[in-house]
Amino acid sequence: MGQWAGFGKGLLGEAFSFVKVFLFLQATNDHVGGFVLAKGPSMLPTISPSGELLLMERISVQLGKVRPGDIVVVQSPLVPKKRVAKRLIATEGERVTYVVDPKNSDSLNTIVVPKGHVWVEGDNIHNSYDSRNFGAIPYGLLIGRVFWRVLPFKDFGSMEPHEK
């Protein structure tokens, strides 16, 4: 009987350690940042459609320090469980001019981004569903800023927008 009690205690200890590590990783992910898997054609040529492993940090968003040109992860305004990566084009009060329908015409539209909102677009404007379709989105939907590519390994390195 003593053996089983010892074994049980050992397992419980392992379970507790696992929980502690999990909680730490979750807290870090929510406040500092973590890995994101991004795929789909909307950010070509920056992000490959077959999928890339990127590093995202949350601090810029929490401090209000994201700037136009940054690649951001946002919660989709249409499918709440989905997260998408887009480029931040404009913040509140700024004016945005965009091509309404790049596949069919050259007509432009200009809007001012409302208070508390941001305008995001995919780098691949021919195949991206973004603010040109669903409008400016509330800043509260921003999750983090993508700043580093981990995989594919041959492209390992910074994704900061202003270094090219």
């Binding site: 979750q26 709440p80 508390g116 509330p138 800043y139």
Partner: protein, 160 residues
């Protein structure tokens, strides 16, 4: 030298205990249950003006189980640093009808709530800034569902 090492070890152990505790608090607070002080006139008579302490659960909105009639905490679409307490009046696909200006008569407006969005209103429609002013908001702005009031003591109880 040995004293410094053992002192440093003890500091590290204490710090790690505090860190573990903070992580536990954070995960519980963000993903399970948290308490909030809510105040203001926009939810009278349901919530008091001077300030109530309410419990919010964060599970329902992740499971997609918040709906019409629920009291929710949402991040303001105008000021991302502010959290509002309002009631969900319409879910995606619903048609909501509201008075254009409750002080000025019976003229009503109807709007359809777009996909992925919700329509929120304060219970005190005369003194609430809500979807009637800033439009429907994305479901993703919901922070939690308010279900219980803890303070003041005479109003202790469920808020469903």
């Amino acid at each position: 030298m040995r004293q410094w090492i053992s002192a440093a070890k003890e500091v590290l152990e204490r710090a790690s205990t505090v860190a573990k505790f903070l992580c536990w608090i954070h995960v519980t607070d963000s993903y399970l249950l948290s308490s909030t002080v809510v105040q203001g006139a926009s939810m009278l008579p349901t919530l008091n003006f001077a300030g109530d302490v309410v419990l919010t659960e964060h599970i329902s909105q992740r499971l997609g189980k918040v709906g019409r009639g629920d009291l929710v905490l949402v991040r303001s679409p105008i000021d991302p640093n502010k959290i509002l307490t309002k009631r969900i009046v319409g879910m995606e696909g619903d048609t909501v009808t509201f008075f254009a200006d409750p002080h000025l008569g019976d003229y009503t407006i109807s709007r359809e709530v777009p996909k992925g969005h919700i329509w929120i209103q304060g219970d005190n429609m005369y003194q609430s800034r809500d979807s009637r002013h800033f439009g429907p908001l994305p479901y993703g702005l919901i922070q939690g569902k308010v279900f219980f009031r803890v303070w003041p003591p005479h109003a202790f109880g469920s808020l469903s």
